[in-house]
Symmetry: C3
Subunit: 213 residues, 3 copies
Amino acid sequence: MQEAQFIGLLWTIGILAEAMTGALAAGRKQMDLFGVVIIGCATAIGGGTLRDILLGNYPLIWVENWHYLLAIALASLLTVVIAPVMRYLSKLFLAIDALGLAVFSIVGAQKSLMLGFSPVVAVVMGLVTGVFGGVIRDILCNQVPLIFQKELYAVISLLTAGLYILLLQYQVEEWLNLLVCLATGFSLRMLALKYHWSMPTFDYQSGTDNPMH
Amino acid sequence: MQEAQFIGLLWTIGILAEAMTGALAAGRKQMDLFGVVIIGCATAIGGGTLRDILLGNYPLIWVENWHYLLAIALASLLTVVIAPVMRYLSKLFLAIDALGLAVFSIVGAQKSLMLGFSPVVAVVMGLVTGVFGGVIRDILCNQVPLIFQKELYAVISLLTAGLYILLLQYQVEEWLNLLVCLATGFSLRMLALKYHWSMPTFDYQSGTDNPMH
Amino acid sequence: MQEAQFIGLLWTIGILAEAMTGALAAGRKQMDLFGVVIIGCATAIGGGTLRDILLGNYPLIWVENWHYLLAIALASLLTVVIAPVMRYLSKLFLAIDALGLAVFSIVGAQKSLMLGFSPVVAVVMGLVTGVFGGVIRDILCNQVPLIFQKELYAVISLLTAGLYILLLQYQVEEWLNLLVCLATGFSLRMLALKYHWSMPTFDYQSGTDNPMH
C-alpha cells in the first residue's frame, strides 16, 4: 500500500465517522431524516469544502466524485438504525473521531502545500479541514460551536498539521511522518478526553454594549 | 414564449415571493428595515449563490445583473407595508412558495447540467438552489432550519430535480418535461401542507457527550 | 504618504480593532482561548473574505499574506489580557470601530471597482466588507446579528460606500474624497450611538406558519 492509499483509506473512515456524529447531533435536535442526512454531509465534508472555497480550489472533491456524497448519506441514515447500539460504542466513536481529527488536519495541510500555499496557510487549512465540519454542524443545529468551549480539539488539529509540515521540512520520510503525526494527534485527543484537558476560557461580562449614552 | 423565458418568468416570481417570506421571518424577530432587506435577499438568492460558490461558477447572477438585487430589496420593503394584508393571503403565498420550490429545483439542476456536471451533482444542486435560501434565512434568524423539522419540503426538491433529469435522459420534449415537473413538485408540496406529510424524525437523547471519564 | 498607504494604515487599525471586539464577544460566551482567536479572526476578516468569495476574487488577502492572520490572532489574545482595562476604553473602541466601519466600506467599494464591477455591486460589496464580519461573529456566537436590530450601522456603511463612488464619478480628488467619506461615516456612526438613531423595526407576529390545515 502506498502512503496516498493509506491516508485515503483513513480519510474515508474519518468522513464516515464524522457523518455519524453529525447524524447523532441531528437526532439530539429531533430532526427528520432529511435533516439527518444534511447535517451528516455538512459535518463530514463541510471542513474540506470550506477549505477549498477559501483557497479557490475547484472542482470540490464531492462535486467531482459524488460517490462520497452517497456513502456519507448512507452512513448518516445507517446511524438512525443503529443508534440504540451506538451508546455502547461511544468510546469506539470517540477514538475514530480522534483519528479523523488527525487525518483531516494532515490531509488539509498536504493539499494546501501541493497547491503551492505557504506553510502557515497550510497549517491554518489543516485546522479548517479538521474542525470546521463540526463548526458548521453546530451552526446548523443552532448551538454555540462545541470546539470553542470544550476539551482540547482545535489546538490538536493545529499541532498535528504543524508537526506534519515541520517534519516535511526536515525531510523525514513520508511514511514515518504520517505515522508520527497520526499517533501524536490521536494520543493527544484521547488524553484530552480522559483527563479533561482544556484551554483556559475567557469570561467577559460587560455591563453595557453602548457606553455612549 | 420560449421555455427559457417561461421558466425565467416563474423564477423571477419565485425569488420575489421568497424575498417576502424572508421579510416576514425578519419581522417575527423584530428586525429593523435593514435586517428585513438582508434577510429578504439572503432567502431569495442565498440558495443559488451557495450553488454557484460550490460549483465555482462566476460571476454570480446578482453580481452580473444587479437589477435582481434591487427588485428583491423592494419586494422585502413592500412586505413591511402590506404585512397586515398578508395574513389573508397566506394560502396564496404558500402556493407561490410551493411553485418557487419546484422552479428553483429545476433551474438548479438545469444550470449544473449546462456546466457539464453529472446528473447526481445536478440533483444535489437542484436541492441546494431550492432549499438553502431558507436554511440561510433561518441561520441568520438564529433558529434551527425549519426544513430539517417540518412538512416535506427538501425531499420534494430532490424528487422534482431528479424527475427533470430522468425525463431529460429519456428525451422527453422540454416543454412537457417542465410542465410535468412543475406540476409534480407543486402538487406534492401542497398535499404535504394539507395532509401534514412529513419525514420520520430521529430522536436521540444521549446521556453524555463524553463517556471517557 | 500616498492615499493607498494612508487607507492601508487605517484598514490595519480597523481589522485589529474588529479582532478585539470579536474577542470580547467570545468572552461574553465564555469561550476558550481558541474560540477567542477564531471569533477574532472571523470578525476582522470575515467581511472581506465573504466579499472576495462572492466576487470570485482569489487568492484571499490573508491567504496571500498570512502576517495579517498572525497579527489578528495576537490582537485577539491581547484582548484577554487587557480586558479589565477595556471597560474604561470602551468609548475609544467604539470610536475605532466607527472608523473601521467607514474604512472597510470604502475599501470594499474600491476593490470591487478595481475588479471592474458596477457601482451598485461596489456599494453592496462595501456593505459586505463593512458589516458581515460582525454578522459572522454573531452567527458563531449563536445570536441574532446585532446589526439587524440596533443603532444605525449597516445603513452608514451603504451611505459611506455610496458617497465614495458618487464623488469618484464627479472626479473629486482622491485624498479629498477619502477624507470626506471617512469623516461622514465616522460622524454618522458616533451620532447614531450618542442619540440612539435607529431604523424603524418590523414586528410581524403571525398566528401560524401553516394556514392550510
